[in-house]
Subunit: 224 residues, 2 copies
């Protein structure tokens, strides 16, 4: 058996919690394997509870009534997926969905367990405040990008992010995927990509984009 993250390692305050809370979490936590392409949330109204990402990748996004999608943030190993526990949140009236981007293993702490521990343990309640603040920050960052950044800077940022995820300068990505990521329209992305190409920063192929000048893209992304 390989050395894997334990449930306790997700909670920095584990030792401070009462023993009955630790036992409750350990005895009721499940391990789930999520297949690529699966969507969590949305029509699937299941409230899974708090998911702790052991490995893999999830993408958080929102969807308009017309089906337009905007990516919000990604979750990797050691991240916690709080909004899959939305049924435990009184005042939450928006919906964040998740797409499993690659094979992902998670610990699942069921909603009733989360609620019980959170209502009795000040450490857990504080932890949830911090998690919420941290997700709120990521969403605000995305929103500020969408609202305030010029399109070329945003596209450059999206390409750099994708390069970091793929760990390669050859990105396997369509204009449509980029558009969803940026909360923009495909035609607009295509036009902006052609501009980056004309500047010699990228090469455009079918379903892929090659980064030719990473530093120039980086500067463009971080320009105000």
């Amino acid at each position: 058996m390989k050395n894997e993250l334990a449930v306790s390692s997700f909670f920095p305050f584990w030792e401070k919690m009462e023993q009955r809370h630790r036992e409750l979490i350990e005895s009721r936590t499940n391990r789930l394997e999520l297949s690529p392409g699966r969507i969590i949330g949305g029509d699937d109204k299941s409230c899974l509870g708090l998911l702790l990402v052991i490995n893999g990748r999830l993408k958080a996004f929102i969807l308009s009534n017309q089906g337009r999608e905007v990516s919000l943030y990604r979750l990797f190993e050691r991240d916690n997926c709080l909004f899959t526990a939305s049924c435990t949140m009184n005042n939450m009236n928006f919906e964040i969905q998740f797409e499993v981007e690659k094979k992902t293993s998670v610990y699942q702490i069921p909603p009733d367990v989360l609620e019980e521990v959170q209502s009795e343990s000040v450490e857990m309640a504080q932890y949830i405040v911090n998690l919420m603040t941290s997700r709120f920050s990521e969403v605000m960052w995305t929103i500020e990008q969408i609202l305030f950044k010029s399109l070329d800077a945003r596209l450059a940022a999206a390409l750099i992010e994708q390069q970091a995820i793929d760990e390669s300068d050859e990105l396997i990505i369509t204009h449509d995927m980029l558009a969803r990521q940026m909360g923009s329209a495909r035609e607009v992305v295509t036009r902006t990509l052609n501009y980056l190409k004309s500047e010699g920063l990228v090469e455009i192929g079918r379903g892929k984009i090659k980064i030719l000048d990473y530093n120039a893209l980086y500067d463009m992304a971080n320009r105000d």
Copy 2:
């Protein structure tokens, strides 16, 4: 002395809190009078703590580096202003600012008091979770409007909101103010207003807009 909201009335769980926490809050809470036009947050880096709105009106907004402003939500009597306590939040790396829209009285619970109570009282920590979720929801609603709604529907919604705030069909508002509210550009707002005018829904004057057909605007705002 007129009958006014007590600090305790802002916390539905007041009686459940330990006496030392109640005493700490009561002895350390200040009352502040905020003048219209004052901006809280931003350059003014003061961390006021948790503000409880006794009466008046505050507008929450974000500002881009280029100075573009987008309104997020408003706070009225009995609302709590959480993000003025941002210094108490570990993972918060975005900035929401507040504009005092009319003479406003608040109770101010200083950041150190909030931190102390929140780290010891599970009720207070849970309350902060709820408050955060509720603000997160308001921001997401605004964002979805900006991202997904067509401009005429958003303008109609903004006019209806203003009508509710002013309690009058004659809105004292400029195109520029509407643009900031909607996270759009002034020219775009002017163009869309002219469209609403041509449809007979509004009358446009200098610095004011008169609503002629509330029901049609309402339908437009709630159309998908």
